[in-house]
């Protein structure tokens, strides 16, 4: 049999690996065994098999008794110890230098760690679901006459079931119907409703919802919790809210939900753990979707695709792909409602988006459900982190090379004693290693201190988690790469001195490349600093602008009260209204279905009367009463306001200027003679109002229409005389309770409410501020260090100048000048970069401050001042010192 076995060549890489690690005395033996087996396998099962097993054999031999001492020279350990001692002595001798170096690095690393936490959190969204990789949300992209109108996710209730029917790849689906407008939920004890709370996060879902997403049931049955149409699932925190901190079993208890969509009593069938913060949707209550489908609104003929109040999640079967499912569903709507889509000139393309992608890469172009992150802001944070780390490392490099003169003697002596360059380099790298290590330890401490503050600024509560594999990896990378990246250049410079010149002392000529590199690095730091200061400045200016801009709506004197959800009869409304109008300080009272900053009530289609359906455009509708425009000071530029004397239909509609433009109605006056077909109803135009910011200033003016409604229970708005604010609020609380018992009152000044839309912008501004402060502080530390060394070096020169009559001011200017020139150069380079950055950021806003010279000049001036102060601290001290002191010693 042996004759049939031929000798083959084993794979090279494993073989070399084996030879590298294996003790020489064992090598022949082991390699021979493996090789023999290899040949046997080759003959028996082929090349591939043999190669794989050769590799496995080699890996399996990587055991302690086989591995030779890879770091065998004892000498290195001794040198490391010695170098460590020298490094410690050196650090202890130059306390200021060590402090600046270590603190600067630590701040940089801490900023990186904090940002890493943030990024990890952002990337972790919705990954906690067991089936996250196959759960998708259904999106639909709308084209009108070939024009892309954007992607949304709302659809009619017929979509979900037809997906299951027509797309075999889809294993499960659940439609979701939010409880629009919220509801008042109360606990029912002995048939009496108690502890009412106003709730927003209520979702109607299907039983499959509980299977697709991962819920941890604390109480109740996972499989049947939503089968009964009168069941309700609540979260743990909701349970505590209603039943106290130490509740018994609450399954079986009854909750009363009042809000208009599906009022009634629900029996708790399950309690689930709250979703973690990194979920793209949150909820407090889950109701069976059957309940909302029972409403007339959804049972009438022809409503199946019409009421787009639903959205759908689907779960694909494990072996199918997103592309396959999408191919089958893309034109699904055209199979069900071809005529309607055709006459609208519309094309609807359905697609899927994997749930974990929704948070950062949402395909939806309009409003998302809940706050959504942006992959760009994650990249942005990563870039900032990299910048800050770079600044910190540059500090280290600059300070180390600046000290070159001081250490030339040390290097010279070592060289003359026979030290080789690699040995000197290893000495400086060891120093770098220790500085980096100290910095990392300090940085971890700083992370714990700053994380709570910064996580508040970021708008997400982040816990420091030093066990996260990514964080551990990053720290290891920093420990390994940091000393080399930051220490290599200084080590190269310091070890490059020529022995004799080094011993002579004066050797660093002004033209030496070390100095130019150093200058370049300082310039680079200041470019980053300018960019960040200008960014901070722009962001806060824009934020300020948005909060104080004239929106065309009088908000500061308007108090809005969220209407009651229960016990609303016209009589109680009337009573509340009349009583409030009597209160001193109430100048106007209005009821409406929405208020500025709360969005529109209804997005629908409209066209000018006399044109066909393909001219349909989207408009947003809000229902208001006859005093609304007056209460909010919205200016009517043509026609008249609504009047109570007429019925709804006769009042027609009031449109804004954008609507006039969008439907080609000519001038505002001319528009009064036109009619608009709104969702099928032809209506007269009663008035035209000036364009105003109903939504945040991110959004441009769009076609918006007010319709008349005599009384609404959604929002009450009071025009308040500023002197009587407190009294009005007290009266409102009293009257609200009297008119709508059982409804908790919720009120706010409309400007505050409106500005809540800028929460994310504020968070962004805070981040920017925090990290530019980091960056500037680190850059200044570096500058401070450099200046102080240059002053020490030139102590004699200063002394001589002083003796010869130079004034302190003169010397200060002389020594500050060169650094100021550097900052000016940096500013010049930073301008175009900053310009581009600011411009692309401001494009997010329909209304922005615009780019002015001020946005650059103020930050530059600020930076110059900071830099001058930093340098002056050193130079003034030197200039004021007694020159004799510096000149005496030689």
């Amino acid at each position: 049999m042996n004759q049939t076995i031929q000798d083959h060549k084993p794979p090279r890489i494993p073989q070399r690996f084996l030879r590298w690690y294996c003790k020489p005395e064992l090598l022949e033996d082991i390699e021979g065994d493996i090789h023999e087996d290899f040949n046997k396998r080759y003959t028996r099962s082929g090349k591939r098999h043999a190669h794989v097993y050769y590799f496995l054999d080699v890996v399996r031999f990587f055991r302690p008794f086989v591995i030779k001492k890879l770091f065998k020279t004892q000498n290195r350990n001794v040198m490391f110890k010695l170098n460590t001692t020298i490094a410690f002595r050196h650090l202890a001798k130059n306390k200021l230098y060590s402090f600046i170096n270590i603190t600067g690095l630590a701040i940089g690393i801490a900023a990186c760690l904090i940002i890493a936490h943030y990024v990890i959190f952002q990337l972790s969204y919705d990954k906690f679901h067991d089936n996250a990789d196959r759960v998708y949300r259904v999106h639909n992209q709308t084209f009108q006459n070939g024009e892309d109108l954007g992607t949304g996710f709302y659809s009619g209730y017929a979509l979900g079931p037809s997906l299951i029917r027509d797309v075999p790849e889809i294993e499960m689906q659940s439609r979701v119907h939010p409880y629009y407008g919220g509801a008042v939920v109360s606990k029912v004890v002995d048939s009496v409703a108690v502890t009412p709370f106003r709730e927003q996060d209520i979702l109607f879902v299907e039983p499959a919802f509980l299977q697709m997403f991962t819920f941890n049931f604390i109480q109740g049955n996972h499989n049947t919790a939503l089968d009964d149409p009168s069941s309700i699932v609540i979260t743990e925190s909701t349970m505590r809210k209603y039943f106290g901190n130490e509740p018994n079993v609450v399954v079986g208890q009854v909750l009363k939900v009042d809000g208009g969509w599906a009022n009634g009593h629900y029996r708790i069938s399950g309690v689930v753990q709250d979703f973690p913060a990194n979920s793209h949707f949150q909820f407090d209550f889950l109701l069976p979707i059957k309940r909302v489908l029972m409403r007339d609104q959804y049972t009438e003929e022809g409503t199946d695709w019409g009421w787009t109040n639903f959205y759908s999640y689907v779960m694909l079967s494990p072996q199918s792909t997103e592309a396959a499912a999408e191919a089958k569903m893309a034109d699904l709507m055209h199979q069900y409602i071809p005529e309607q889509l055709e006459s609208d000139g519309q094309k609807q393309v359905l697609s899927l988006q994997n749930v974990p992608d929704i948070h950062l890469r949402s395909e939806v172009t309009g409003d998302e459900f809940g706050a959504v992150g942006d992959i760009k802001s994650v990249y942005f944070m990563v870039i900032i982190a990299a910048f800050i780390l770079l600044i910190a490392w540059i500090n280290f490099i600059n300070l180390s090379t600046a000290k070159a003169t001081e250490r030339s003697l040390e290097v010279g002596i070592k060289k003359s004693m026979g030290a080789l360059r690699p040995q000197l380099m290893s000495q400086f790298l060891t120093e770098s290693f220790w500085v980096n290590l100290f910095a990392i330890v300090l940085a971890i401490g700083l992370t714990y201190v700053f994380m709570p503050i910064l996580s508040e600024a970021l708008g997400v509560i982040l816990e420091v988690d030093m066990t996260n594999p990514l964080i551990v990896g990053a720290l290891l990378a920093l420990i390994l790469a940091g000393p080399v990246l930051a220490g290599f250049y200084p080590a190269l410079i310091l070890s490059s001195f020529k022995t004799v010149t080094a011993l002579k002392g004066r050797f660093v000529s002004k033209k030496s490349h070390a100095f130019t590199v150093r200058k370049g690095l300082v310039v680079f730091q200041f470019i980053i600093s300018t960019f960040l200061i200008a960014g901070t400045f722009t962001v806060s200016r824009q934020l300020n602008f948005m909060q104080n801009q004239d929106t065309g709506i009088d908000m500061s004197r308007t108090l809005a009260i969220k209407g009651p959800d229960t016990n609303v009869s016209f009589a109680s409304f009337e009573a509340f209204k009349n009583n409030m109008e009597q209160v001193a300080g109430v100048e106007a009272f209005s009821s409406s279905r929405s208020i500025p900053g709360n969005g529109y009530n209804w997005g629908t289609e409209a066209r000018r009367s006399g044109t066909d359906r393909s001219n349909n455009g989207t408009v947003n509708v809000t229902w208001v009463d006859a005093t609304f425009l007056n209460t909010y000071g919205i200016e009517v530029i043509a026609g008249r306001d609504f009047t109570e004397a007429q019925r709804q239909a006769r009042n027609g509609m009031i449109i804004n200027e954008a609507t006039v433009k969008a439907f080609g109605l000519g001038s505002p006056e001319n528009a009064l003679t036109e009619k608009i077909i709104l969702s099928g109803d032809t209506m007269a135009i009663r008035g035209v109002v000036k364009d105003h910011n109903w939504q945040s200033l991110h959004k441009a003016y769009g076609p918006a229409i007010f319709l008349y409604r005599f009384a609404s229970a959604d929002f009450f708005s009071l025009g308040v005389n500023p002197q009587n604010t407190d009294k009005v609020i007290k009266a409102a609380e009293r009257e609200f309770e009297a008119a709508f018992p059982g409804n908790p009152i919720e009120y706010y000044f409309v400007d505050d409410f409106f500005n809540r839309q800028y929460q994310e912008d504020k968070a962004f501004a805070n981040i920017f501020k925090a990290f530019s402060a980091f960056a500037i502080f680190a850059a200044c530390l570096g500058l401070f260090g450099l200046a102080s060394y240059s002053v020490v070096q030139k102590a004699k020169e200063i002394g001589i100048r002083r003796v010869l009559g130079a004034s302190g001011t003169h010397i200060t200017i002389l020594f500050s000048k060169r650094y100021l020139i550097l900052t000016i150069i940096a500013n010049a380079i930073a301008i175009p970069i900053t310009y581009y950055g600011i411009k692309s950021w401001l494009e997010n806003f329909a209304f922005s401050i615009g780019i002015t010279a001020e946005l650059f000049l103020v930050p530059m001036a600020l930076l110059l001042i900071i830099a001058t102060l930093t340098i002056s601290l050193q130079t003034i001290r030197a200039a004021m010192a007694n020159p004799v002191k510096n000149l005496r010693s030689e």
Partner: protein, 112 residues
């Protein structure tokens, strides 16, 4: 006693070397052990055992001639030393003694 303690696997290896007599080297020992016990013996484990046995002085080894099947490398043939044989005997004696003292009753399997 740690130094001369004979583990179960090491005992098997020693016995296998004895069985293979003149032809005991890495691959044959592994094959023999594998086929007799039906266990999949890893090469690393075997070499660990061989190294330990060598350290304890239970086996010696010498190189044979180079062969083509090993890519020109020599085989290391193992032999059991006297102290190895002695350790095996001791181990066997201990077992025999224990077996002989096991009461018959406890050897009857349940259900018989």
């Amino acid at each position: 006693m740690k130094g001369t303690y004979l583990g179960e696997f090491q005992e098997l290896v020693l016995l296998t070397i004895l069985v293979l007599a003149e032809n005991a080297y890495g691959v044959t020992i592994q094959d023999e052990l594998g086929s007799r016990t039906g266990r999949n013996i890893s090469r690393g484990a075997l070499h660990t055992a061989l190294t330990r046995l060598d350290e304890k002085g239970f086996i010696t080894s010498e190189y044979g001639g180079a062969t083509a099947e090993r890519g020109g490398r020599r085989k290391r043939f193992y032999k059991v030393t006297d102290s190895g044989t002695k350790a095996l005997e001791e181990s066997k004696m201990l077992r025999d003694q224990l077996w002989s003292e096991v009461p018959q009753v406890s050897l009857q399997k349940a259900g018989n």
